[in-house]
C-alpha cells in the first residue's frame, strides 16, 4: 500500500532521515522511537509537507512524493497530526465535515462517518457547536482523530494520538483502531505509549536518529530486550 | 572583532557628522530628507517590535510639527526648544490615547492609529484661527535662517538619537519584553511581563521621536499645514524603507532609508518621466528576491563569505 524507498530528509543542513526504506501493507504498522528520532518528519514527508532530498514514496503503486499535500490526501491518506492543526474558529461539527468534504470517497458517506466518529467520541456530539479552539487539550485531540476518520481513508496515519487523552479513552481508542484495521484500513501509528500502541498494530519499526534500528511483528518487538528496556520500561 | 565593529561604527558616525564638509548642498539636502525618514522608520520599527503595527506615524509627526511651529509662532519659543516641545506634546497625546487603544491588536490597532491621525488632521484643518486651517501657518524664517549645514546636523542628531534609542531597545531587557510580547502575549504575561506597561512605554517613546522629527521638519521649512504635516508620505515611505531594509533591527531601517531615499532621488534625475514606476518595480523586486530585506540578504552573503574564509583557514 505505502512504500518508501531510500528516503533522505534534511532541515537545512541537518540530516534527519537517513536512507530510510519501509512499507505499510494491508496492516497496522507502528513507528516507535525516542523524541527527535524523526517520526513526525517522516510523516510530514509522506504527506508532502516536507520535501525530501532523495528517495521515493509510492502509495498503491503510484508515486506520490512531489505531489501537493491536498492531492496526496485525496488519494486516500488521512492524518492525525501531532500539532492538531484544527480550525479554531469553526465548530466541532464543521471541523469534522471538512475532514470529509474534500476527499472524493468520503463525501458521499458523510452521515455514516459522522455516526461512526460520534460513537467513538460521544463528547464531540455533545459539543457539536463549540468552537474547536476552545476545546480542552484532550478534546481537541479527539476532534483531530475524528476529523481524520471522517476522510474514510485507506491509509490512516496517526502521530501520537494518545497524547493528552484520559486513560479510559486511550484504551478504547486503540481498541477501535484495531476494529478499523479489521475493516481494511491500513494504519501507520507513532506512539510513545508503546505498550498500548503495540496492541493496535501487526508490525512495527523502531526509529532511532533517523534510521530504522529494528523491525518486526508486534510480538517480536514486545519480546525484544532493547524494546523492553527503553520503550516498555520493564 | 568587536573592537573593529566599534571602530567601523564610529567611522560611519563621524563620516555622517562631517558630511556637510565634503558634500555639496544638494547631497546634503537629500541626506537631510533621508535622515528624517530614517528616524521615522526607526520609530515605526520599534513599535512594530512589540507586535503592534502602527499607522500613526504621520499623525504624531504632524502633532509634533504643529506643536513646534505654533509655540514658536505664538510664544516666541526658541526653535530648538520648540522641537523638543513637539516631542513632548506627541508623547503626552500618545500617553493619554495609549490607555484607550493599547488593548487593541493587529489590524484593529493599525486602523485605529490611522483613524487617530485622521482626527488630528481634521482638527488641525478646522481650527482656522489657531492652526491657520487648511492653509497652515508660516514662520518669518526657517530655523538657523535655513543654514543647510546646521539643519543637517539637527536632523542628523535626531536620527542618531533614534538609532541610540533603538539600540537601547535591542540591547537591554526591553528587547526580551517586547519580543516576548510580539510572539506570544500569554507566555509573556505568565513569565511576569507587564504587557500594558511596556506597550505604553514603547508607544510613548516612539511617538515622542515622531513628534521631534515632525518638529524638526516644520522648523526646517518654517511652515506647517495639514497637507504637509500629516502627509501619508510620512507614513508609507518610512514603512516601505523599513520593510525593504529589514524589520526588527536598527540597521534595517537605516540601510533601507539610505538606499531607497538615495535611489528615488537618483531615478528621478535619470528618468524624469515614469521614475516612480521603476521605483515601484524595484520595491516589488526587493520583496520577491530579498524576503528578509536588504539587511537579511547582506547577512546571508556575509555568512557565506565567512564560512568560506573559515574553510580556507582550516586548510592552512
Amino acid at each position: 500500500m505505502l512504500e518508501i524507498r531510500n528516503l533522505n530528509v534534511y532541515y537545512g543542513k541537518l540530516h534527519v532521515i537517513w536512507d530510510l526504506s519501509m512499507t505499510v501493507g494491508d496492516e497496522g504498522v507502528g513507528l516507535f522511537g525516542p523524541n527527535g528520532a524523526g517520526k513526525t518528519t517522516l510523516i510530514n514527508t509522506i504527506l508532502g509537507l516536507v520535501t525530501p532530498k532523495g528517495g521515493q514514496i509510492f502509495f498503491e503503486g503510484r508515486r506520490i512524493d512531489g505531489l501537493d499535500t491536498h492531492k496526496i490526501v485525496r488519494e486516500g491518506i488521512a492524518v492525525v497530526p501531532q500539532e492538531r492543526e484544527l480550525f479554531p474558529f469553526m465548530s466541532v461539527k464543521e471541523n469534522l465535515e471538512l475532514g470529509a468534504a474534500f476527499v472524493p470517497h468520503a463525501q458521499s458517506r458523510m452521515n455514516e462517518l459522522f455516526n461512526f466518529v460520534y460513537e467513538i467520541f460521544p463528547v464531540l456530539k455533545r459539543r457539536e457547536s463549540q468552537l474547536a479552539g476552545t476545546m480542552s487539550g484532550g478534546e481537541q485531540r479527539m476532534l483531530t482523530i475524528g476529523r481524520a476518520l471522517m476522510a474514510n481513508p485507506r491509509l490512516l496515519i496517526l502521530d501520537e494520538p494518545s497524547v493528552g487523552l484520559q486513560p479510559s479513552i486511550v484504551a478504547e481508542l486503540f481498541h477501535k483502531l484495531k476494529l478499523i484495521r479489521q475493516n481494511g484500513v491500513s494504519i501507520l501509528l507513532t506512539e510513545q505509549n508503546v505498550r498500548q500502541g503495540l496492541k493496535a498494530i501487526d508490525r512495527g519499526y523502531i526509529l532511532e536518529n533517523g534510521r530504522i534500528a529494528l523491525e518486526g511483528t508486534s510480538e517480536e518487538l514486545a519480546a525484544n530486550e532493547h524494546v523492553k528496556k527503553s520503550y516498555l520500561g520493564l | 572583532m568587536k573592537k573593529l565593529g566599534m571602530l567601523i561604527i564610529l567611522a560611519v558616525v563621524a563620516l555622517g557628522f562631517l558630511f556637510p564638509l565634503y558634500a555639496g548642498p544638494y547631497p546634503l539636502h537629500v541626506m537631510t530628507t533621508v535622515l528624517t525618514y530614517m528616524a521615522l522608520g526607526l520609530s515605526w520599527d520599534m513599535m512594530l517590535r512589540t507586535g503592534q503595527l502602527s499607522f500613526g506615524t504621520a499623525g504624531f509627526f504632524g502633532l509634533g510639527s504643529y506643536a513646534a511651529l505654533l509655540t514658536t509662532l505664538y510664544l516666541g519659543l526658541n526653535p530648538l526648544a520648540s522641537i523638543f516641545v513637539g516631542g513632548v506634546f506627541a508623547a503626552i497625546v500618545a500617553f493619554a490615547l495609549g490607555y484607550a487603544i493599547l488593548r487593541l491588536r493587529e489590524i484593529y490597532f493599525a486602523i485605529t492609529t490611522l483613524a487617530l491621525a485622521g482626527v488630528f488632521t481634521v482638527v488641525a484643518r478646522n481650527l482656522h484661527d489657531f492652526t491657520g486651517g487648511p492653509e497652515g501657518k508660516i514662520l518669518p524664517s526657517a530655523i538657523f535662517n535655513g543654514d543647510p549645514t546646521k539643519v543637517y546636523w539637527l536632523t542628523f542628531s535626531v536620527a542618531l538619537g533614534s538609532i541610540l534609542v533603538s539600540e537601547l531597545f535591542q540591547r537591554t531587557r526591553i528587547r526580551f519584553a517586547i519580543t516576548a510580547i510580539r510572539n506570544d502575549e500569554i507566555t509573556a504575561k505568565s513569565s511576569g511581563i507587564d504587557i500594558f506597561k511596556y506597550l505604553l512605554f514603547v508607544f510613548v517613546i516612539t511617538s515622542a521621536i515622531q513628534g521631534v522629527v515632525g518638529g524638526a521638519y516644520a522648523q526646517q521649512y518654517g511652515f506647517v499645514s495639514p497637507e504637509s504635516a500629516f502627509s501619508t508620505n510620512f507614513l508609507l515611505l518610512p514603512i516601505a524603507m523599513c520593510l525593504a531594509g529589514g524589520i526588527y533591527s536598527t540597521l534595517g531601517p537605516v540601510i533601507g532609508s539610505v538606499i531607497l531615499g538615495v535611489l528615488s532621488e537618483y531615478l528621478k534625475l535619470r528618468f524624469p518621466y515614469g521614475h516612480l514606476i521603476i521605483y515601484g518595480v524595484i520595491i516589488v523586486a526587493i520583496v520577491l528576491f530579498m524576503p528578509h530585506g536588504i539587511l537579511g540578504m547582506l547577512k546571508k552573503i556575509a555568512q557565506k563569505t565567512r564560512t568560506e574564509v573559515g574553510g580556507n583557514e582550516n586548510e592552512k
Binding site: P34, G36, V163, L232, G233 | A177, S190, G192, I193, D194
Partner: protein, 242 residues
C-alpha cells in the same frame, strides 16, 4: 507540614464559558511543599483551573488566596512575580528566541533579575531540568526539549508554586522517568508542585495527594492508591483496564 498555613486556597471557584461551567464551585487547599496531583477526564476543567489560578482567566465567582494573600484581582504577571508559575499543556514557546532566551524571559521579568544574572539563572535552571542544547532555535527543538523548556521557564521566575500541565504527555518511558526525577528535585528544593497528568504512573510516583475532577467538581480526593480504587473514578476516568 499540616500545621503550616496552606500556600494556595481556592474558595468556591466558578468559571463559566457562556453556558458551560468548566470549574464548578471548587474549593480546596494546597499545602506548602506538597505535590498535588490533579486528574480527571478530558474537559474536566484542569487546565481551566490552572488558567484561573495563574491569572490568565478571571474567575466568574470565587476567591483565590496565595500565601494568605487574596490574589483574585491580580494580573497574570503580578501573580507570576508573587510566585505562581505554570507550564502550558499546548506548548507556547517564544518562537523567535532560542531555548535559553525563552527561559531568560521569565528570569528577567518573573524574578526581576538583570540581564547578566538572568542569563546565569537561565543556564542553571536549564541544566537542572537536563536541557543540553541551549542555543538552538525553537523549530529545531524536540518535543522533549520543549517540555523541559516549559518547566525551566516556569522555574526560572523563582516560584513557590508551579502548575505542571501534562508536561509528560508524549514522552517515552525513559524520558518520563527522567522527568519524574526532575519534578522530585523541584519539590525537594521547596517548591510546591501541582501535577496534571493522564499518565497514571507519574501520578503514582510523584504525588502525595490527588484531586479528581469531573465536570469542574471534585469527585474524589486522597492518595493515589485511595482514589484509583474508587468506582466513580474508575468509571469516569480510568476505565476498566488499569
Amino acid at each position: 507540614m499540616k500545621n503550616e498555613p496552606p500556600i494556595l486556597t481556592v474558595e468556591k471557584l466558578i468559571k463559566r464559558f457562556g453556558g458551560l461551567v468548566a470549574v464548578d464551585n471548587l474549593s480546596f487547599t494546597v499545602q506548602q511543599g506538597e505535590v498535588l496531583g490533579v486528574i480527571g477526564p478530558n474537559g474536566a476543567g484542569k487546565t481551566t483551573l490552572t488558567n484561573v489560578v495563574s491569572g490568565l482567566y478571571r474567575p466568574s465567582e470565587g476567591r483565590i488566596f496565595f500565601q494568605g494573600k487574596d490574589v483574585t484581582e491580580l494580573d497574570a504577571h503580578q501573580r507570576c512575580r508573587l510566585g505562581i508559575s505554570r507550564t502550558f499543556q499546548l506548548m507556547r514557546p517564544i518562537r523567535e528566541f532560542t531555548i535559553l532566551e525563552n527561559v531568560m524571559v521569565s528570569a528577567l521579568f518573573g524574578k526581576g533579575l538583570d540581564l547578566k544574572s538572568a542569563q546565569n539563572r537561565a543556564r542553571e535552571v536549564c541544566e537542572f531540568v537536563g536541557l543540553k542544547r541551549l542555543k538552538i532555535p525553537i523549530e529545531s527543538a524536540t518535543v522533549l526539549e520543549l517540555k523541559k523548556m516549559e518547566i525551566a521557564r516556569a522555574l526560572a521566575s523563582g516560584p513557590q508554586l508551579v502548575f505542571l500541565d501534562e508536561v509528560m504527555a508524549g514522552l517515552n518511558v525513559d524520558e518520563t522517568n527522567e522527568m519524574i526525577e526532575t519534578v522530585k528535585k523541584i519539590n525537594a528544593s521547596g517548591v510546591t508542585v501541582i501535577v496534571i497528568e493522564h499518565v497514571m504512573n507519574v501520578i503514582k510516583e510523584l504525588t502525595h495527594r490527588v484531586i479528581v475532577l469531573d465536570r469542574g467538581r471534585i469527585i474524589a480526593e486522597g492518595s493515589y492508591e485511595e482514589v484509583s480504587h474508587q468506582p466513580e473514578v474508575i468509571s469516569a476516568y480510568l476505565g476498566e483496564e488499569e
